[in-house]
Amino acid sequence: MAAPTTLPSALADAVRDESSLRRFLHGLPGVDQVGVEQRAAGLGTRSIKKASKLHAIDLAISMVDLTTLEGADTHGKVRSLAAKARRPDPERPDVPKVAAVCVYPDMVKTAADDLVGTGINVASVATAFPSGRSTMDIKLADTRFAVEQGAAEVDMVIDRGAFLSGRYGQVFEEIVKIKEACGDAHLKVILETGELVTYDNVRRASWLALLAGGDFIKTSTGKVQPAATLPVTHVMLQAVRDWKDQTGELRGVKPAGGIRTTKDAIKYLVAVHEVAGPEWLDPHLFRFGASTLLNDLLMQRRTQLDGHYSGPDYVTVD
């Protein structure tokens, strides 16, 4: 098996062959379900007010991967999403722009054309999203197509079937190959934690993706319930923290699906701050995969600045 980057010797050894990889992943400390859920609930009670809340809202806006992943997507829909990304709140030009627009591969060119020069990336899902059930050739072609069309970020899915049946080497190889196919594009590896089910699996899959060279680990496609949860994100944040402690490299985390309110987003930011560390409070290292979250952030931002609530009619639907 080919190690993607120069790893410290202990980790290079972990990816030497299939059985080393298995030993390594199964040698990771377990995750206690009750404990991690208790910690996530406890941190969820942090009270973020006033200036710290406004800062959190602006930070969260700048971390949004504004997403549309529907069978019903059209070029018009994508163009209006790109417009929303450029100016989230048209009446308030000081609102930060979002991090990226996330679409299916065939919509990448439309989005990219509309976002030229804005600093907003186009992210594309790929590799037979959302199920990942196809051949490697098709997954690679899917990825290359997205990058050719102008995607700066690729959100791939792992083969959960292979992972759950213990074929870790296969999952590893796939990520390595997709990473190669990405070229300069950043690779986000979707673990689909709702199908992995246990926190132990989430930790193993996180390490697997990090070892294979994923720039980001992402919770979910948004097509499977449960999608992102706070405890799952805790486990993944701990993984990137541990990765940094062992390698010195910073890798990112992206919870996606189900985060709809400012209150929820702030709970995630508190987790980023206190579990991974303050340096992860950066759109290069943390993203929200969301569509409806942005408007709630905008409404709460207005509330903070104006001193009163307005309503959904004052922000644009798309």
Binding site: G35, Q38, T45, S47, K50
Partner: protein, 475 residues
């Protein structure tokens, strides 16, 4: 950098009054003892003046309790007693915010703990025991177990309202009447509980609350007409009480100090173990008799675990107890702070490696930064004596047998923690721990259904659960 703005709970919610009276025979009355001033340990300002009991007030309170026992409470059907106890539980919930803020002001504990742990658990003790009041015949103590009479109860300052609930709820459920002395430094929430009891129309004299210092407690436990003594506090005082009660027919339960071992095996869920260690020793500033003050960690993972622990402890926010984001509040008194400083100095002098959190501390008030000692050996004072503060001693072991030997090598035996993903090892360890409570893959979890109590110098008798009823029944 993202700083959390202060998010203080309003102190107005506490309805703080300039003075508080003691509660005897259903009325708030001035005590004839020297009034005490209770302070906010986070600011050292005086919160209120509290009247205290003299010897004769103790006698009056016990007489009121006796009269209420003879005439009303012991004769009342359990189902009727239950109604009163349920009412108290609901009132505690209704006034939860007030009680939480007052508790944090008087005690120094962070509002998130008083709000999320102390007050809800106090209410749940009343709810739980209300359920027992008419079912005592099914508790396993015979078909119709009888109450004991008047219970004299003395409680500590670390969980002022919660300890009052632990004591009063089972006593009332079993048909006893109560004279309770709250701690000298934290009398306020017990007196609000008295107000709740008055508003619940409890018959006069069923519960009496008499603030004061140790002499009031001594007079109460020595009183000839008290049938049952329950004490939670230091081992030194517990020994004195046991001496005083020797040769009397009074029934006694003691819940005293501890030096609990939190044992982490190399196959433990490490991140959650770190959380459990932090919760075990820094919860309530370490003012917990069952605190996991000795960390026993398997040598093979000691360095990794200690590194993770330091990183985690550095994120603890120490400061204003009323700030909703505070994790560690104020030490309860100057006296306690002095004791913590003395013992940590001894730790350094004896050669342990001291690590202190880099968190900033407030300028005034009694604060102590979370501290972890590594390279601790069994012979050191910090491994043997109860510090009762935010100070952890880390020791290592190589085999399960050694872990058991070290964990049990203490005159105490209140609680223990075992961290391993291996179920059989949990059971193997739990069988061998000489501790009243053994937590597995968690720590400091309290529930009214689970009996709590100690071995050896940690005391005897159990509180909570079916087992806890025995302390208040004539069996």
């Amino acid at each position: 950098m993202w700083e959390y703005a202060p998010a203080p709970e309003s102190r107005d919610i506490a309805n703080l009054k300039p003075s508080y009276k003691m509660f005897v025979d259903g009325k708030f009355v001035e005590g004839t003892g020297e009034p005490l001033k209770t302070i906010n340990p986070a600011t050292e300002e005086v919160l209120a003046e509290v009247s205290t009991a003299s010897q004769s007030d103790v006698d009056t309170a016990v007489k009121a309790a006796r009269k209420a026992y003879d005439r009303v409470w012991s004769k009342m059907p359990g189902s009727e007693r239950a109604k009163y106890i349920y009412r108290i539980a609901r009132q505690i919930q209704e006034r939860g915010r007030e009680l939480a803020v007052l508790e944090s002001l008087d005690n120094g504990k962070p509002i998130k703990e008083s709000r999320d742990t102390d007050i809800p658990t106090a209410a749940s003790h009343f709810f739980y025991h209300a359920g027992w009041a008419d079912k005592l015949g099914y508790a396993g103590y015979g078909p119709d177990p009888k109450p004991l009479g008047v219970a004299g109860q003395v409680i500590p300052w670390n969980f002022p309202l919660l300890m009052a609930a632990w004591k009063i709820a089972p006593a009332l459920a079993c048909g006893n009447t109560v004279v309770l002395k709250p701690a000298e430094t934290t009398p306020l929430t017990a007196l609000v509980l008295a107000d709740i009891i008055q508003q619940c129309d409890l018959p006069p004299g069923v519960v009496n609350i008499i603030p004061g210092a140790g002499d009031v407690g001594a007079a109460l436990v020595e009183h000839a007409d008290v049938n049952k003594v329950a004490f939670t506090g230091s081992t030194d005082v517990g020994k004195i009480i046991q001496g005083q009660l020797a040769g009397t027919s009074k029934k006694l339960t003691l819940e005293l100090g501890g030096k609990a071992a939190n044992i982490v095996f190399d196959d433990a869920p490490l991140d959650q173990a770190v959380e459990g260690i932090v919760n075990g020793i820094f919860f309530n500033q370490g003012h917990v008799c069952c605190a996991g003050s000795r960390l026993l960690v398997q040598e093979s993972i000691a360095d990794e675990l200690i590194e993770k622990l330091h990183a985690r402890v550095n994120t603890l926010r120490v400061g204003d107890p009323l700030d909703k984001n505070t994790d560690v509040g104020a030490i309860n008194s100057r006296e306690q702070l002095t004791k913590i400083k003395e013992l940590t100095a001894a730790g350094e002098a004896e050669g342990a490696t001291r690590w202190t959190s880099s968190c900033p501390l407030p300028d005034k008030g009694f604060f102590f930064a979370p501290t972890v000692f590594s390279d601790v050996s069994q012979a050191m004072r910090i491994a043997r004596e109860e510090i009762f503060g935010p100070v952890l001693s880390v020791l290592t072991f190589r085999t399960p047998e050694e872990a058991v030997a070290k964990a049990n090598n203490t005159p105490y035996g209140l609680s223990a923690g075992v961290w391993t993903e291996k179920g059989s090892r949990i059971l193997w360890m739990a069988q061998r721990m000489r501790a009243g409570v053994v937590w597995s893959n968690t720590f400091n979890r309290f529930d009214p259904t689970a009996p709590f109590g100690g071995y050896q110098e940690s005391g005897f008798g159990r509180e909570g659960g079916r087992t806890g009823l025995e302390a208040y029944l004539d069996v």
